[in-house]
């Protein structure tokens, strides 16, 4: 690579709270690959679709503010959460295609000395690794091949749907037959598990108000992966991770079967293969035991 890749990282809330392992493994992977990361410490919550339900205009103002800080740096904004990706991209799309809305949002942003221009791209880290860093280059850096692991890719809705919104940012991934995570697993020499639920919903967003729906959707996906001989699941979305890692006991009760499957964040899987440290990978932060997956010493 001739020029060092440099991105503005929008961490999202979970990487700063319940999934510190997501942030540490992301930074460790970037460091190993020689990708420069500037954390957007000014960025707030994306609203996670819930503020959008409450007050759509306010959600656009807050997301536009986050994007402004990436624009100020002149960098692509990368996300490490599918839902952050979706909500940021929805605001960008709305503002870039509706001048009247953009003007109304900028009127508010002017009150805090900011202006949304629309100059920064927004991309999930998974797709920058594939489209910009290149899987061949990732492959060259593998120190601990994952050939001993059957890995079930779980794509998470908000990176792949709606496809029209994402197609420029996700390499035209087809939501009915996504391939990015599978090819990343291949590049790390792991064995991608083929199972029907890989592009389905985990149920996270209705965890509180429609708990049964949430548990069954997560249970269907976890059991599908288990029945297809997965040793672990991997997801680019920390919300999928939270649903599927944290609630396996209660999901098991609803499904009437034991559910035990480590669910790793995408950067944790890459970090395992690149030989990052145990502390950086942070498997101790998982509710479902996962520490045995760290084999380097």
């Amino acid at each position: 690579m001739s020029e060092q890749l440099h991105y503005a990282l929008f961490t999202g809330c979970t990487a700063k709270q319940s999934t510190p392992e997501l942030l540490s493994s992301t930074l460790a992977v970037a460091d190993k690959l020689g990708i420069k990361i500037t954390i957007l410490e000014e960025a707030s919550c994306c609203g996670a679709s819930h503020i959008q339900d409450f007050d759509e205009f306010l959600a656009h103002v807050l997301n536009a503010r986050n994007i402004c800080y990436a624009e100020k740096l002149g960098l692509t904004m990368i996300t490490i959460c599918n839902t952050c990706q979706l909500n940021s991209a929805m605001t960008k799309h709305a503002l870039d295609t509706d001048p009247e809305l953009k003007a109304r949002v900028n009127e508010k942003l002017a009150e805090v000395g900011l202006e949304y221009k629309g100059t920064s791209e927004i991309k999930h880290f998974l797709y920058t690794l594939i489209d910009e860093y290149g899987l061949e280059n990732v492959k060259d850096k593998v120190e601990v091949p994952l050939s001993h692991l059957n890995i079930a890719p779980f794509y998470g809705c908000h990176n792949i749907r709606p496809s029209e919104l994402h197609e420029d940012a996700n390499g035209h991934e087809n939501p009915y037959k996504p391939t990015s995570l599978d090819s990343l697993i291949d590049a790390l020499e792991g064995n991608p598990v083929n199972y029907e639920s890989k592009n389905k919903c985990c149920g996270f967003h209705v965890e509180l108000q429609a708990n049964h729906t949430s548990e069954v959707l997560a249970g269907n996906a976890l059991l599908d992966a288990i029945d297809n001989n997965a040793d672990m699941m991997v997801t680019p979305c920390p919300l999928c991770h939270l649903k599927m890692d944290t609630y396996q006991d209660s999901i098991g009760k609803v499904m009437g079967r034991d559910v035990e499957l480590p669910v790793l964040h995408m950067p944790q899987m890459v970090a395992l293969a690149l030989g990052c440290t145990e502390k950086e990978i942070g498997l101790n932060f998982h509710v479902q035991k996962a520490k045995h997956l760290y084999t380097a010493s």
Binding site: S44, R65, P162, S163, K177, H205, V206, H212
Partner: protein
């Protein structure tokens, strides 16, 4: 010069089942040459006309208006008369299976019993409720802006593609589903309609209404007419707050409660959102999970006290506080 080959020889699989005579469904295979301009509907016609006259499916208009021919191909919802066959053969490596929109509702081959779809559609009053003068002196005009407010919701052809692609419906029989909810939006957003509050109330109900949507965007992807049902579901959420229909409950507090944390730190407060949404009495359900999360370090301890002072603050927090103050348009 060699001739460019415009056709491809493939084996098409189809779900077969006759509820009157079969105990179980089965799959049959049909070999055919598929041309580059052929539609999935053409393939179904050829199965019926060239292979097996008993193969059954619904079809009528052949140009994407009647909504009769919605089926699934390898799990992807398609309107058979709009979907190019080669496109799908390319996507699925020449291995495609034609299936009804909902296998469990199959009556004969591709034909399903859509009773649940129509019942739910009817439940949202999908018509204009108004005292209309039977002998009007003037036209009841709508401006372009008034029409535009319906967004694309008026384009729905009731094909059921989104309804049977919805995973929430698969788990929760009571859920109205994306098609009925998009229809609810279409008539609620119509300025001639007088049933706004009524329809917002129907779509607010917990278990059946918009708050049971899992936000997977399968409906947006499945719709052959770009109705984008989940966008309309989002609009209904907003309208329920605007019209004061949204009362305080676990779902609405969950939506509004995000702002509590954001005002304090810029981030969502993950512990507070559960406590605030559920109420202190509802928290007991989460104690087991909370203990597990503490044990693994997912809930951070600060000076030995969980939930308190454990969240960092964003830089320039006062900007977020100010923007919430000046931009918030809804209240709970």
């Amino acid at each position: 010069m060699s001739e460019v080959k415009d056709t491809r020889k493939v084996t098409i699989k189809a779900f077969r089942f006759n509820a009157e005579t079969d105990y179980l469904p089965y799959t049959k295979q049909y070999e055919m040459e598929v041309g580059k301009d052929e539609l999935i509907l053409d393939l179904m016609n050829r199965i019926k006309w060239e292979h097996d006259g008993s193969f059954s499916y619904r079809r009528s208009c052949r140009h994407g208006i009647c909504g009769a021919c919605a089926i699934k191909v390898n799990g992807k919802s398609v309107l058979a008369c709009k979907q190019n066959a080669i496109e799908l053969l390319d996507l699925f490596d020449n291995d495609i299976t034609l299936e009804p929109s909902s296998k469990k509702r199959a009556v004969k081959d591709m034909i399903i019993d859509k009773t649940d779809f129509w019942e739910k559609h009817a439940a949202v009053k999908p018509y204009i409720v108004a005292d209309i003068d039977p002998r009007p002196e003037t036209e009841s005009k709508q401006s372009i802006a008034q029409f535009n407010a319906l967004l694309d919701a008026d384009l729905c052809i009731q094909c059921g593609a989104c309804h049977y692609a919805c995973p929430a419906l698969e788990v929760n029989d009571a859920f109205l589903g994306p098609a009925a909810l998009a229809a609810a939006y279409r008539f609620t957003a119509d300025t001639r309609d007088e049933a706004t509050e009524d329809r917002l109330q129907i779509t607010f109900e917990s278990g059946s209404g918009v708050w049971d949507c899992v936000k997977c965007f399968e409906c947006a992807e499945a719709c052959p007419k770009d109705v984008n049902p989940i966008e309309k579901i989002g609009k209904l959420h907003n309208m329920q707050f605007e019209h004061g229909v949204a009362v305080s409950n676990v779902a609405t507090r969950h939506a509004e409660g995000f702002l509590r944390g954001m005002k304090k730190t810029g981030y969502l407060d993950e512990a507070d959102i559960v406590t605030y949404s559920e109420g202190y009495l509802g928290m007991y359900k989460h104690l087991g999970t909370a203990l597990k999360m503490m044990k693994s370090g997912k809930i951070h301890w600060h000076s030995g006290i969980p939930f308190i002072n454990s969240i960092p603050k964003i830089k320039n927090l006062e900007e977020v506080q100010k923007l919430i103050e000046i931009s918030q348009t809804n209240k709970l």
